[in-house]
Amino acid sequence: MKILVAIKRVVDYNVKVRPTSDGKSVDIANTKKSINPFCEIAVEEAIRLKEAELATEVVVVSVGPDAVQEQLRTAMALGADRAIQVKTEADLEPLAIGKALKAVIEREDPGLVMLGKQSIDGDNNQTGQILAALTNMPQGTFASHVAIADKRVVVTREVDGGLQTLSLSLPAIITTDLRLNEPRYASLPNIMKAKRKPLFVIDLNEFGIDSEPRVVTTAVESPAQRQPGIKVANAAELVDKLKNEAKVIT
């Protein structure tokens, strides 16, 4: 079985971004970029399934400009076998990403497709669910455990109330949550090896999909800043302040 993993290049999670001075977008020039952490978890899970001989090949795909090749190479250094860049300079929305990934699925015919549950820049949490709708595949979102057996995949999902376990027919779409696994680090020999692994580039235009933006961002602002508070000396003063100043407890 082949596993396709969709990865996104994002501003590293340690970077605190700010709106640009014209208030139209976010200033991400010269910031460190990484694989979206949830996608890294998806790559790790796919590699583990291959190591457990439940999968035969791990293919990573990213939709974006040539810069995404850096993250595709990293994923191959972690253990993915080959990579696909769907090349575009445009900043696509989840619906268009879903359409592009659907086109890749039609060419690659994977048995399982893994995505992160959320990109930490756009915070959409949409692409996996959209892709599942477009391909009419079952979806196991926010996965914290994945087990493949008898041509099905059993997915435990982190939901607001606790955990829910579903059994999905294959091929299926899985989106990963934080506790699915802890991704490994790439070793130097594997980073060298990854340079020789195949990376196939296809232009988005070849898919002939409608990728026109449907939602336009007109302004980006900083959130309301909290006023700095005070330090209290001890628990007694804290209780007094909460009762008599903030009036939030009685």
């Binding site: 079952p138 955990l163 829910q164 336009v216 007109t218 804290l238």
Partner: protein, 309 residues
């Protein structure tokens, strides 16, 4: 310009998240319907009919909808949605799982985590873990929105219950089966609707010490939450995680105990009215958002607070 709100429920009770979503819907139009999809969910439909602002309750009560799997519900909603300009769901794991799948079936790009409705086509939503707020405009013929519950009040009750209409459409996809659920039950308030939340972080050091927080929470009528580090370490279950990728809360009082204040955690609680931080490190970033900071060993502080309350 009619609106359809998708009810979040467990076949017995209507979840509070639905009430916040209805408030957002009422800001867009007076013409708000709600759809209840489930199995043996009469009580939910009756509760929905009483919520202020609801004009009609649509009920789809079939065994196939017992676990509200996204595959079945999205196919059903695709047809119901024809009648509506807006489809709204809460930005909870329920709504996030379902709404994008539904929207894609009618070629709509959904808008996640709306915190403000500016006008009929303009919305605000946080991006980059709340480090920035984006204003977005969409002229799509249909708009699918998930609503951040912490940003909207809960809708109240109306004096006359809305009419309830039952429909018999039965869509059972074989793609996905329910296996099991492990849903936490607690006598404490729900994190998403609690007025007071006490949250523990890695500083708590063990699962056992969370019982200290529970005791304190019971005295305050508070819910108990946690940072990702506390969940990852196995001190508490995942449903307690607050943050960018966990629950987003905005109680009147948030007490962070042994939490450093990483941006991903702040994203889930920085809209709380009053924030208290208890941490032994006076340089911990959590103090930059705290109204009241107590630099102390948390175990000492918890014990003293327990005696004072």
């Amino acid at each position: 310009m009619s609106i359809l709100v998708i009810a979040e429920h467990d076949n017995l009770t209507l979840k509070d998240s639905t009430l916040n979503t209805i408030t957002a819907a009422s800001q867009l139009s007076d013409d708000v319907d709600i759809v209840v999809i489930g199995y043996q969910c009469d009580k939910v439909a009756a509760a929905a009919a009483k919520v202020a602002g609801i004009a009609n309750v649509l009920v789809f009560d079939q065994e196939a909808y017992q676990y509200q799997l996204a595959e079945n519900l999205s196919s059903l909603l695709k047809d119901i949605a024809l009648e509506y300009r807006y489809i709204l769901a809460p930005a909870t794991t329920f709504g996030k799982n379902l709404l994008p799948r539904t929207a894609a079936l009618f070629d709509c790009q959904p808008i996640s985590d709306v915190i403000e409705i500016v006008d009929a086509n303009t919305f605000k939503r946080p991006i980059y873990a709340g480090n920035a707020i984006a204003t977005v405009i969409s002229e799509q013929s249909k708009l699918c929105l998930t609503i951040r519950c912490a940003a909207f009040e809960a809708a109240g009750l109306q004096s006359t219950a809305a009419p309830i209409q039952h429909y018999a459409t039965d869509i059972s996809s074989t793609l996905s089966h329910f296996v099991s659920a492990d849903i936490a039950t607690s006598d404490r308030p729900d994190l998403l609707s609690a007025n007071v939340i006490i949250a523990g972080g890695r500083g708590m050091q063990s699962a056992d010490s969370f019982t200290l927080l529970n005791n304190l929470a019971d005295k305050l009528g508070a819910a108990v939450g946690a940072s990702r580090a506390a969940v990852d370490a196995g001190y508490v279950p995942n449903d307690m995680q607050i943050g960018q990728t966990g629950k987003i809360v905005a109680p009147d009082l948030y007490i962070a105990v042994g939490i450093s204040g990483a941006i991903q955690h702040l994203a889930g609680m920085q809209d709380s009215k009053v924030i208290v931080a208890i941490n032994k490190d006076e340089d911990a970033p959590i103090f930059q958002v705290a109204d009241y900071g107590l630099v102390d060993d948390l175990f000492t502080a918890i014990q003293e607070l327990g005696e004072l309350l």
